[in-house]
C-alpha cells in the first residue's frame, strides 16, 4: 500500500505500527475523527476493529448504519480489562495472532476506559511499551481518551506515550511524546539506594532460594506469600541461568516489602524489560513478565555488566 495524502492515517503505509492518541470531549469530535477513520478502513478492505465506550459506539452506530456489520469487532471496552496491565496486554497481544497471520494491515479504534478504574493507570506504561513491542505489526491504533472522564495526568500520559496525535484535521507527531525508557522512568518508583538494614543472601540454586523467600515474606503479605515466592523465584531463576549465582535481598519500607535480585550475568538492558508481552512462541521472557504481573511494582536497572531487579509488594 502506498501513502496517500489527506487520508485519516497520515503517511501510514500499512506496513508498520502507528500509534495515535486522540483526546476528545464531545460526540462531535468523535464524529469528525473516528467515523472517517473507520469508514476509510472499511472502504480499503482492512480489518477494522472498534473496542470503545458506549458513547463512541453510539456515534459510530449512527454514522455507519448497516456498515457496522462489516466491522471485524464492535465491542465495549469494559470487558477488556483483566484486572492488571500484563494480563490485559497479553490478551490483546494474543487476539492479534489471527490478524498477523493474514499478513494484511488492519486498523483499530481502541478506547482504554480502564485507565480510570483502580489500578488501571498502569496501562499508560503498556501504551508506551507497545511502540517498541509492536513496531513491526502492520496496524494503525487510534486510541481514544475522553477528557471528561480521565484525569489531566492520564490525558498527559496519553500524549507522552503516543507518537502521533490529531491536530486540526491531520495526523502529526506528538510534541509531548517521550521515548519508552524516559516515560517509564518518569512514572516508576525511584531507584533509591538499598537500605543498610536489608537482609541479603547469596543464592546458587532455586529451591533453597525459594524457601528463603517464603520464610521471609512479611506477615502483612501472608495471603500473597505463594505469589511473592513465585515472582521472586522467576527473577532468581533468570539470574542463575544468566550468571550461576545471585544476591537476593529484602527490606521493608513502610507497608511495602522490597525484594531485590542482583546478578553479574549478561545484562538485561532493554528499557521495556518485563513490560513487553512474551513472543507468541515458546521462547523466553515469560518469567520476568509473570513476576512483573504478580508484583505491585517491578523495576529493572543495569548493575555493572549484569542486572538488578526489584519487586515491590504492598500490604493491603
Amino acid at each position: 500500500m502506498s501513502a496517500t495524502a489527506a487520508t485519516t492515517v497520515g503517511t501510514w503505509a500499512g506496513d508498520r505500527f502507528a500509534h495515535e492518541a486522540f483526546v476528545y470531549g464531545t460526540e462531535a469530535e468523535v464524529r469528525d475523527r473516528v467515523v472517517p477513520f473507520v469508514a476509510e478502513g472499511l472502504e480499503r478492505g482492512e480489518a477494522t476493529i472498534v473496542v470503545a465506550s458506549d458513547g463512541v459506539r453510539a456515534v459510530l452506530d449512527d454514522a455507519l448504519g448497516a456498515g457496522r456489520d462489516d466491522l471485524a469487532v464492535f465491542a465495549d471496552s469494559a470487558g477488556f480489562w483483566r484486572g492488571d496491565g500484563q494480563q490485559t496486554l497479553a490478551a490483546y497481544h494474543e487476539s492479534m495472532g489471527p490478524l498477523l497471520e493474514t499478513g494484511r494491515p488492519w486498523r483499530l479504534v481502541g478506547e482504554p476506559t480502564w485507565l480510570a478504574v483502580p489500578g488501571g493507570h498502569v496501562w499508560s506504561r503498556f501504551e508506551a511499551v507497545a511502540n517498541d513491542a509492536f513496531s513491526d505489526y502492520p496496524y494503525y491504533s487510534l486510541c481514544l481518551h475522553d477528557r471528561r472522564r480521565l484525569s489531566p495526568s492520564l490525558v498527559d500520559n496519553a500524549r507522552r506515550t503516543h507518537p502521533l496525535v490529531w491536530d486540526h484535521g491531520e495526523v502529526v507527531p506528538s510534541p509531548h511524546y517521550q521515548p519508552t525508557e524516559e516515560f517509564l522512568r518518569s512514572v516508576e518508583p525511584p531507584w533509591t539506594p538499598a537500605p543498610e538494614h536489608r537482609e541479603s543472601v547469596t543464592v546458587t540454586t532455586c529451591g533453597p532460594a525459594r524457601r528463603y523467600v517464603h520464610a521471609n515474606v512479611v506477615a502483612a503479605l501472608t495471603d500473597r506469600a505463594d505469589d511473592v515466592t513465585l515472582a521472586v523465584h522467576e527473577i532468581v531463576a533468570n539470574a542463575l541461568e544468566a550468571a550461576g549465582t545471585a544476591e537476593l535481598s529484602h527490606w521493608q519500607v513502610g507497608g511495602t516489602q522490597v525484594w531485590e535480585v542482583r546478578d553479574d550475568g549478561p545484562g538485561l538492558h532493554e528499557a521495556a524489560a518485563g513490560y513487553s508481552p512474551p513472543s507468541l512462541d515458546l521462547a523466553g521472557g515469560r518469567g520476568l513478565w509473570l513476576a512483573h504481573s504478580l508484583a505491585d511494582e517491578a523495576i529493572v536497572r543495569q548493575h555493572g555488566p549484569g542486572t538488578a531487579i526489584r519487586l515491590i509488594f504492598s500490604a493491603p
Partner: protein
C-alpha cells in the same frame, strides 16, 4: 506438601514401595544393603540382591548381615547377576521385567515368605547410553507393578560412576535418597496418566524433559498429566510441558493437564496449559 519421600536410612520400607538410593562409595552401598535386608529378614521376606559385579563381591557386601550364610543356604537370601533377570537375552524389556518381578513376588509368597524385597544395582544401566532409554521405560512400568504386588524394590546406583543422567532415574521413584540433597520431584506413569509430585523448576528441567520424552515414547494417544500432587512448577518447567504438547500435537497426539492448583496455574497459564485450573 506432596514432596517425594526422602530416606535417610534404608528402613521403614513396606510392600508396594519402589525407592531409589544414590550412593557414593562401597561403604555406602553396603550400609544400605545391610539396613534393608536386616529389616526384610526380620519380616520374613525373601531377599534378592542383584548387580553386575562378581557374585563373590556381592556376598562380601553382606558380610555384616546377621545370619547371612544361613539365609543364603535356606534360599531366603538370593544373590545373582543382573543379567540373570533378562531371560532369553531380552535385555531391559519393560513388559518382560514387569512379568519377571510380578512372578517372582508371587513365587516368594507361595514359598511361605511374607513378600519379596529386591535390591538392584543399576549403575551400569544408567551409565550406558545404549541402555538408559530402556531402563527409563522399565522403571516407569515396574512402578505400578510394585505398587500392587507383595514386593518392594530398592534401585541403588553409584552416582559417581552413573554419568550425568542419574537424576532422571532417581526421579522415577516416589521414595528417594540423594546424599546431601532433598529430592526435587517424582514422576510416575500408571494407566496412561503421568503423575507429578514435589517441585519442578529450572534446576530440574533436564530431568523433567528427559522423563516426559520417555513417557511419550512409552505411550500412545492421549496423555494426561495429573498435577494434583505437584507443589510447585515455574515457567521453565511449564515451558517443557508446552514444548512436549506441541511435539505431540504434530504427531497427532494430545497432552492435557489436570489437577492444577494455585500457584502452579500461573506459570502454566503463560503457555495455555492451565485449563480447568482452580486459581
Amino acid at each position: 506438601m506432596s514432596a517425594p519421600r526422602t530416606l535417610s536410612r534404608a528402613v521403614d520400607l513396606a510392600p508396594g514401595d519402589h525407592a531409589s538410593w544414590a550412593y557414593d562409595d562401597l561403604s555406602g552401598l553396603r550400609a544400605v544393603c545391610l539396613d534393608t535386608f536386616a529389616e526384610g529378614a526380620a519380616r520374613g521376606e525373601q531377599l534378592v540382591y542383584l548387580s553386575h559385579r562378581p557374585l563373590g563381591q556381592l556376598v562380601d557386601d553382606l558380610a555384616g548381615l546377621e545370619g547371612r550364610d544361613a539365609l543364603l543356604r535356606s534360599g531366603q537370601l538370593v544373590v545373582h547377576g543382573a543379567q540373570d533377570c533378562s531371560p532369553d537375552g531380552a535385555g531391559l524389556d519393560a513388559a518382560v521385567q514387569v512379568e519377571t518381578w510380578r512372578s517372582r513376588a508371587a513365587a516368594s509368597v507361595e514359598s511361605g515368605y511374607s513378600g519379596l524385597r529386591v535390591v538392584g544395582d543399576i549403575t551400569e544401566e544408567i551409565a550406558d547410553p545404549a541402555h538408559l532409554a530402556d531402563l527409563l521405560r522399565c522403571e516407569l512400568a515396574v512402578d505400578s507393578m510394585y505398587a500392587a504386588a507383595p514386593a518392594l524394590a530398592l534401585c541403588v546406583f553409584d552416582r559417581t560412576r552413573a554419568g550425568s543422567r542419574w537424576r532422571e532415574v532417581s526421579s522415577l521413584h516416589r521414595i528417594q535418597h540423594i546424599p546431601g540433597e532433598e529430592p526435587a520431584f517424582a514422576l510416575t506413569l500408571s494407566r496412561g496418566v503421568v503423575r507429578l509430585m514435589g517441585e519442578v523448576d529450572l534446576s530440574s528441567v533436564p530431568e523433567f524433559a528427559g522423563l516426559l520424552q520417555a513417557v511419550v515414547e512409552s505411550t500412545t494417544g492421549l496423555l494426561e498429566v495429573d498435577l494434583s500432587e505437584l507443589d510447585f512448577i515455574d515457567v521453565a518447567g511449564s515451558r517443557v510441558m508446552a514444548g512436549m504438547r506441541t511435539a505431540m500435537t504434530r504427531a497427532g497426539r494430545e497432552l492435557f493437564v489436570t489437577g492444577v492448583r494455585h500457584p502452579a496455574a500461573l506459570p502454566l497459564r503463560e503457555f495455555n496449559l492451565h485449563e480447568g485450573a482452580a486459581t
